[in-house]
Symmetry: C2
Subunit: 496 residues, 2 copies
């Protein structure tokens, strides 16, 4: 057995434990009764520790060295796999075992408490737990940064999207900060408001609509599930991919668009290379690419005039409405799905204001991590930034302010920027797909997503981690990630 083959065997065992971790994590969010929380946090922390311990096995370091020396006999996929294993080994060995366990425990406890604190609009109750999480994330970012020769925040970015740095994000965000506010004013001044869609919107009808939409988009129910959670997400593993949404009886667009988004994630996960199921190279490339897939489905496909035209009869069927009712025409549904407004909630935001929500978080999370923004001042800083970027105030409404997203409470610092990079990427992928698939608009109008899915499987999903984000964009679309596609998309959809 070669060193490389031994390495694959050791890593395969770790991947299997991670599959168990993914399913238990999904269960914690979707199925677990509240009384199970304390025990589950301990159990997951133990499992995470054990995975970390196995990944830090010095034998992996030795095998990596030997396998590198044998490099000549490995093919491209194996070489890419080796690099990915090396990256994971460096990351794992950078963080002390006790910090891994403490972080896992603190983030699980904080996330569980957040569910109550958000419902009660009670930031003070969650503050000490969030302070603990911020402190642990700071330690982690410093440990990772020092092992990888990166600034602490860059080290966190690296764990979500390899090779992504704050200095690459800043000019893009500066450009958007310049472009979007003025663009937003022009759109708000010119848009035709949609007629209101009035209920009832029974949860069961919403669920059925979501499920039918998932089937149209290509979700494979033999290898996945669809459930409810506090915050929509995509979890599980490639052959058991699990997405969630949440329902409010006052409207269906939130659950519907969340499911369009999460199905994009799921299609990526279900389309990862079959031959590399239990190796890192078979995993998703990174969070920005993942978001580019979810936002491609949500923004480029599902909010398009073509798709809404196809979906309108399906939507009317589930809620028992008639096309003679002017609120339920395809045109009005399209207007409702593309309504632009300054709002509080990121996940409900239109695609113009959405990047402003992300920029706010990108700036605040760096300040939280470097200590310049103490956690106790977060509600006020959030409100200030909301007023500055979106012209709305969240004072006294932390539930819809700094408690609206689970991310920080769950220890996800450095993740938010990938949403906006994903939105840019989605526009760029869709532009490239439209060039390759000349019938694409007509197919989308007919609800036939198979050609697009085939294209994504070939060019993105099936590539796993064989390359890097920028190389993949360059290879498939002809250029590195470029905000121009996104801006042209916005202009075409909102001002033409």
């Amino acid at each position: 057995m070669t060193a490389y083959a031994k390495l694959e065997t050791k890593i395969r065992e770790i991947t299997r434990l991670r599959e168990i971790e993914a399913i238990s994590g999904w269960d914690e969010a979707c199925m677990m009764p509240s009384g199970g929380g304390a025990g589950r946090s301990q159990a997951l922390a133990t499992l995470t520790s054990m995975i970390h311990e196995r990944l830090c096995d010095p034998e992996i370091g030795e095998l990596l060295n030997t396998a590198r020396a044998d490099g000549a006999i490995l093919d491209d996929w194996q070489l890419a796999n080796l690099s990915n294993i090396e990256r994971e080994y460096v990351e794992a060995t950078a963080i002390p075992a006790e910090l891994v366990r403490a972080t896992r425990l603190a983030t699980l406890n904080c996330e569980q408490a957040w569910r109550q604190a958000r419902a009660a609009n009670d930031f003070q109750s969650i503050r000490p737990l969030l302070e603990e999480v911020v402190g642990l994330e700071r330690q982690t970012s410093e440990a990772l940064g020092s092992a990888m020769g990166l600034a602490p925040y860059d080290a966190l970015l690296e764990t979500y999207e390899p090779e992504l740095r704050a200095r690459d994000i800043e000019p893009v965000f500066d450009d958007l900060k310049q472009f979007l506010p003025e663009f937003l004013d022009r759109v708000l001044a010119s848009q035709h408001p949609a007629e209101p869609l009035t209920g009832p919107f029974p949860v069961e009808a919403q669920r059925a609509l979501c499920e039918e939409t998932m089937r149209v988009l290509g979700f494979d129910f033999e290898r996945g599930r669809f459930d409810v959670s506090h915050h929509p997400f995509c979890g599980g593993v490639p052959d058991d991919t699990r997405i969630t949404t949440r329902y409010h009886e006052e409207g269906f667009l939130e659950s519907f668009m969340a499911i369009c988004h999460e199905t994009g994630h799921a299609l990526y996960q279900q389309g990862l290379p079959v031959g590399w199921r239990e190796q890192p190279v078979g995993d998703a490339l990174g969070a920005a690419i993942h978001e580019s897939q979810s936002l491609l489905m949500e923004l480029q496909v599902c909010r398009s005039r073509e798709f809404i035209g196809f979906a309108a009869p399906m939507i009317r069927k589930h809620f028992g409405r008639d096309s003679a009712d002017s609120a339920w025409t395809a045109e009005n549904l399209y207007r409702a799905a593309t309504t632009v407004e300054r709002g509080f909630i990121r996940v409900d935001a239109d695609e113009i204001t959405y990047p402003l929500h992300v920029i706010l978080r990108f700036e605040l999370e760096q300040a939280l991590l470097d200590g310049s923004l103490p956690v106790r001042d977060l509600p006020e800083a959030w409100d200030d930034a909301m007023q500055k970027y979106l012209g709305v105030s969240t004072r006294g409404n932390d539930a819809d302010g700094c408690m609206q997203d689970v991310h920080w409470y769950a220890g996800l610092f450095g993740y938010f920027p990938t949403y906006t990079l994903g939105a840019l990427g989605a526009a760029q992928w869709f532009d490239a797909a439209r060039r390759d698939l000349t019938d694409l608009p007509a197919e989308v109008s007919a609800g036939n997503l198979r050609p697009l899915l085939g294209w994504l499987r070939e060019h993105v999903h099936g590539r796993g981690r064989q390359t890097t984000m920028q190389s993949l964009f360059e290879e498939v679309t002809g250029s590195q990630l470029d905000a121009g596609f996104f801006k042209r998309h916005l202009e075409s959809r909102y001002l033409s």
Copy 2:
């Protein structure tokens, strides 16, 4: 830190991994889409192997020796915990690591294939997988037996109920084989048949009835869930106890009685001693005691005239029936719930024929394990035994014959006898509770199960593994397990 304290720390970590294993196993049965099966089997086999590896850590053996020497400073619970850890260590170290993994993998694959094979009534398709499972269970029983100085089948019994031996079961079963057939004839000759309960029985109404019944019996939904699976079971962990049932639209008694049964298991699990959550002494005593709790709820409580009298209005409410309809009176519902008949299916069997189903399995599983019954001859042997004990034939209907239960396909050999020991125990516990709680029949008639649950919590649930089955019966009821209580119960219910 004393050796005992170190031992507790090491065992705590293992218990936490077992919690993850329990939840992932529940997920496999209740939530997992079929495409996830192959990957999940590998992942669970890896986790099981790792738990086994940790339990075999030679340091545990050394700590056990040192802690034994320190025995004088340990209290009763700690001493009992030490014995339980020792027992688990001996069992774990008896089985080679490769056999543990191979068995876990083979039983998961076989159980998954059984779901399809049973639905298709295709024993031949599952035969090779069952042969593999039987071969592995044979190796396991021999390895365990040689380490513990027990016959192979006794070694399997020991893993389900400490100190239980085939030689103790045989005279009890011989007695029942003598008593039941004649008793059954007398009951069949004298029973008043129930008026048929005709549908529809919508799944949602059945589910709501089950849930309301669980609440009446005392199930804590803050620390548990209720779902659907191919075969009803109770899983999860004390603070996250998960029970399941299955529905058929033709009738509601099956799902209803299954949930009464599983709630009995759940109440035991939720009532285990809180102070010992992550140690073996805090676990359930064994399978026979577990079944005595489920059957106490199902047979002694829920099939009683008192409980059915209480439940009748609740049942009518869920299915929209009227007490003026003679089929839906409490009296007729009681007759339906205590109808005795010779049938194919163990889980649907009345309490008189049930032990005959178990005796059949007790005899066949010993023959499968010692090789005197080859797996290929199982369908015929099953049919012969059904004709002998129950006077019905399963020829050509293996789905309702040797494929009706998941147990053997999931590697559970040595479990079946505990059902009938549990039925005997249930009668004995209930007799003792009735002596201590003089108002018990009236409370059950009023749907107030709290006094009974309090009694069980004190005398059985809260005791964990602090003692053994026979000692517990003797201490609480005044005698060791005695079939007389069960026989008197049957006579009183069916012939008085």
